[in-house]
Amino acid sequence: MDQSFLNWLHQSALSQATRDSRWLFGALESAHFLGLTLLVGAMALVDLRLMGVIKHGSGRATLKFTHLAVIGLLLIILSGIGLFSSEPAAYWGNPLFRIKMALVLLAFLNIVWFEMREKRLVADLADGGSPVVSARFVGLLSLTLWLVIIVIGRFLPVKGGN
């Protein structure tokens, strides 16, 4: 990421506010945690169904819960931008943070793949039916990635020099 962009962000009003107000930073962190909670809860249901671990629920009915995951993701992304802006150079300089972002990108690519290739098949899945192998893999990758992203997020201060 360009250093001048990081500098510009550091000088922005948002960045200043997150550094001045402990309350704002804490609120952003809370929103980040609530967002990931919603995401993980929704994806636990959807991904476990995709993996065939949960056998109840049609594909159509199960996929509706992805709306909750989207709300969770929006909370995470918006609060994440706020958190990042507090010390852009420090976060970007943290190798664990860059790994976390790479995994987030991978998770999004997994979603795109699902939307393009698997969703049609899963939408036809009946209550009690078994998903195709490729859908199982997408579900496993999804849930694994989100949990690993949480782990790396919790370890950021180790390399971040907080």
């Binding site: 402990r22 804490g26 962190e29 809370s30 945690f33 609530l34 990931l36 909670t37 919603l38 995401l39 993980v40 809860g41 929704a42 636990a44 249901l45 476990l48 169904r49 671990v53 949960i54 109840h56 629920g57 049609s58 159509r60 009915a61 199960t62 509706k64 819960f65 709306h67 909750l68 209550d127 949990l147 949480i150 782990v151 997020g153 919790r154 370890f155 201060p157 180790v158």
Partner: protein, 155 residues
């Protein structure tokens, strides 16, 4: 009891090792995401999201939620053992425990209310929906209080 906790090998490891705290906090975050996340998903289903989703789909999910809760209980006790004297003087920590206890009572009440209704392709009755909303609010407050532990001065 705090002294007994702080003498356990896990708590001593958390205090002395470089990564102990982070590993415990990570387990705590994953447990939180699982138990509260699943509570949220159940809550929204009861409120009418995806009415065709059978409640039987939640059977295995509840096992996952229980595992998440046990993970939190375990990591929480270890963290308490490592940092107890500060935590019990922290109002945010005390509030968090209070919300968790109330949240647990709410989940039990929710389960009992759900049993009085047949599993149907519909949102739940009014009483179940009210309890569901209360349950989600209490667990949300528990998470927020938990985040505030780091920022709250002690008594």
């Amino acid at each position: 009891m705090l002294q007994w906790l702080s003498a356990t090998p896990v708590s001593r490891w958390a205090r002395e090792s470089d990564y102990g705290f982070y590993i415990l906090l990570t387990g705590h975050a994953i447990g939180m995401a699982l138990v509260v996340g699943i509570i949220f998903v159940l809550g929204f289903r009861l409120l009418g999201l995806s009415k065709d989703e059978p409640l039987a789909a939640f059977d295995k999910l509840f096992i996952v939620a229980w595992l998440g809760f046990l993970l939190n209980l375990g990591t929480g006790l270890a963290l308490l053992g490592a940092n107890g004297e500060h935590l019990i003087r922290n109002p945010a920590f005390l509030l968090k425990i209070g919300f968790i206890v109330m949240g647990g009572v709410a989940v039990r009440a929710l389960g009992r209310s759900m049993k009085t209704e047949p599993d149907s392709h519909a949102a739940s009755g009014a009483r179940t929906r009210v309890i569901a909303i209360l349950t989600m609010m209490l667990w949300t407050l528990a998470i927020i209080a938990g985040r505030w532990i780091a920022y709250t001065p002690e008594f």
